[in-house]
Symmetry: none
Subunit: 413 residues, 2 copies
């Protein structure tokens, strides 16, 4: 199946937003074995949008559009999609009821223009929007399919994963199965070098590496006649690569590092508290993204000022004076302070220089100290993080914290 991705929205042509929808959809379609031939972007203009759809259909069987489904006047995608595939928009009463319920629930008046969202092509297969108000749909005519999805990435990705993927899987002849391995502590190029022998001769399964904010991922994909065959081929290859790079893999199921660590803390009932300086609460915020974490996460201290480090955690004035707030000694006293105050089994502290200012020759931006106490054991470490941006440095610091915790939990067993 040949496809085109068509993004609708004048804001894209102004360069106000980056088109991440095309990236997501390209990846997903490729995983499903659908070839992506073109990306198109067009503004909120009915004539040009219609021409572009016709143009894409000369070459492609499938078009996926994003954007232009909302309640406002310049939202035109479904009108044009229906026009090109010779259908009419009709009022879907059930959608209208849902809209009305929704606005009642959030206690807002439903403006008249919102009703527009309940008008959809008569032949369309509808896709509910779990995360917004505009439904998506698929419309077919003579072996040509157009799938229209909302523009906001959160709405679009949810709708794709829950509704569009199953819809497309039914249309496909072969089965694609893949696993995404997540690694930390090894770069993408080193990962590729280590796995050279399998990446080069790729037929099936294929291996592909991806760089991801501070991490490297490995996708192992097999396309076979049956799911069982594809699964077996992927599992075999996982066995091979694990011997080479197993120590860097923290998830075989495309999970985030905080999810992996959060689950272990919950399952093993490890009470947890934290003290953060440079990350300003990012560690606590990340850990508390995990549903159910309240059963083990007790509390966190964001001791941004020296005063706070002394008052909340009992860090000694002499330590701060002699070694500085960014030092292994301070990190240790912070973690010991958390232990003393909370009695949690796992206590973690972090102090460092996140930038963009505050770095010196001796203590450059990216210098970070982390201390972890788990039951009887205490480990502290210095990291020299590549300074990319304040945000990146802080994100990477949290990954280092998770990595230390993960290895300490693993070693206990």
């Amino acid at each position: 199946m040949k496809s085109a991705i068509l993004s609708v929205g004048t804001e894209l042509l102004f360069g106000q937003i980056t088109n991440t929808n095309s990236v997501f959809l390209s990846q997903q379609l490729n995983y499903l074995g659908v070839d992506v031939m073109y990306h198109y972007t067009v503004g909120d203009n009915p004539k040009r949008l219609a021409e572009m759809i016709r143009q894409a259909f000369t070459d492609c069987d499938l078009i996926i559009t994003t954007g232009g489904l909302g309640p406002t006047q310049d939202d035109l995608t479904k009108e044009i999609a229906a026009e090109v595939l010779h259908d009419d928009l009709v009022l879907h009463e059930d959608i209208l009821n849902e809209l009305e319920d929704y606005f009642k629930k959030i206690n807002r008046v439903m403006t008249e223009n919102n009703k527009k969202q309940a008008y959809l092509p008569s032949r369309a297969v509808l896709f509910d929007n779990d995360a917004g108000t505009a439904p998506g749909f698929a419309l077919e005519e003579n072996e040509k399919t157009i799938i229209c999805l909302p523009g906001p990435p959160r709405e679009m990705t949810r709708m794709f994963e829950r509704k569009v993927k199953p819809y497309l899987e039914e249309k496909s002849e072969s089965i694609i199965y893949y696993k995404m391995l997540r690694t930390f502590g090894i770069g993408e190029s080193m990962l590729e070098t280590e796995l050279h022998q399998w990446i080069d001769g790729q037929t099936d399964p294929t291996l592909a590496t991806y760089a991801k904010e501070g991490e490297a991922c490995l996708r192992i994909t097999s396309k076979r006649r049956t799911l069982d065959e594809a699964k077996a081929a992927v599992e075999d290859m996982i066995g091979n690569v694990s011997q080479k790079i197993g120590q860097y893999v923290y998830s075989f199921d495309d999970e985030e590092y905080y999810q992996v660590v959060g689950k272990k803390l919950i399952n093993q009932k490890i009470s947890t508290s934290s003290a953060e300086s440079c990350t300003g609460g990012l560690f606590a915020q990340t850990m508390t993204e995990v549903p159910g974490i309240s059963s083990v996460y007790d509390r966190g201290f964001i001791t941004y000022s020296n005063q706070a480090k002394m008052e909340e955690l009992g860090v000694k004035a002499e330590t701060l004076e002699k070694y500085g707030a960014v030092s292994e000694e301070t990190a240790i006293e912070m973690a010991e302070g958390v232990k003393k105050v909370t009695g949690s089994r796992l206590c973690i502290s972090v102090t460092g220089i996140a930038g963009p200012d505050g770095g010196t020759e001796e203590k450059p931006i990216g210098l970070v100290y982390i201390c972890v106490i788990l039951d009887g054991q205490r480990i502290s470490k210095e990291y020299k993080i590549r300074n990319i941006s304040r945000k990146w440095n802080r994100n990477y610091t949290v990954l280092c914290m998770l990595d230390m915790i993960n290895h300490m939990i693993e070693q206990k067993q």
Copy 2:
């Protein structure tokens, strides 16, 4: 002048990289008063690339391509550009010499395929590459212009700024100027309804609304002969819309809410501390994204457990028992606790139910209490946030916190 941006590269169609070149070029072209009508992306395929160029020229006077100028076999852009505009590639001796010098300088053997980069259309205006080896160029025929730039963003952006911009400025007649207003507390559809009278009759300036994670944005754009005229037209319109929706606008310069609030705290030297339950540190983490915030941000408490709320902030056991952890009473005692412990001028607390579990009929997911104490004044509020996801609920809660702080700072003045 009407233009299209054409990105060449199969890696884009695989979703392996995000197309930031189109964002950059769209912004730059709009600043120059060049309308961007389309973005196209195509793989390294000569037939489809030629068709796409012809297609774009039916409508546009200018095409800017990125990618496909390198030394390898699948780099085909200049061959196809020359073919469509009826020119031939000829060897440019000076480029060849530069290439040879470059490889001598970096002490590498120049492989034979690199010579390909010295072949360029005979009529082309050449653009040096300061950051790589492949030169770019502009080629014209009958009022149609194609500008071919290298794909790596660092090479492309430098070449654009130093060579292409002056080239285009000579061709342009008008200037575009716009402002992006950011609002909170009003939905996109309501925003449009309120501004109906100006959106409907849009000629110049034009108004466009956008939904953004929990917010709504308004872009006001003017295209005039001079920058001064465009600026004056936009400022006039800002005056008009401010009378209608001014109370919702938190930035006239496309800033994030946390940046707006962070700057006010820093400029007004308002010492700040926080206590969070449901947001788990997201407020502190967000505020400490602001460079320089350490001059005012003292500390944060993430009191996830009841024990922590009592021990760190002095919340009374009776309050927790009688009203529950998620209650206005608890929020108030948390904020008063922060005030007592830290003495900060601004103390803020939040407690709520982020989901996905933990909601009841009486206290549903999305129920949030925020209390702010600023100098002598204390305000506490109940919010019923639309439950979308744990992540979204927490993000929106932080926006509510920022909004309360912002209004309290403004009212003081």
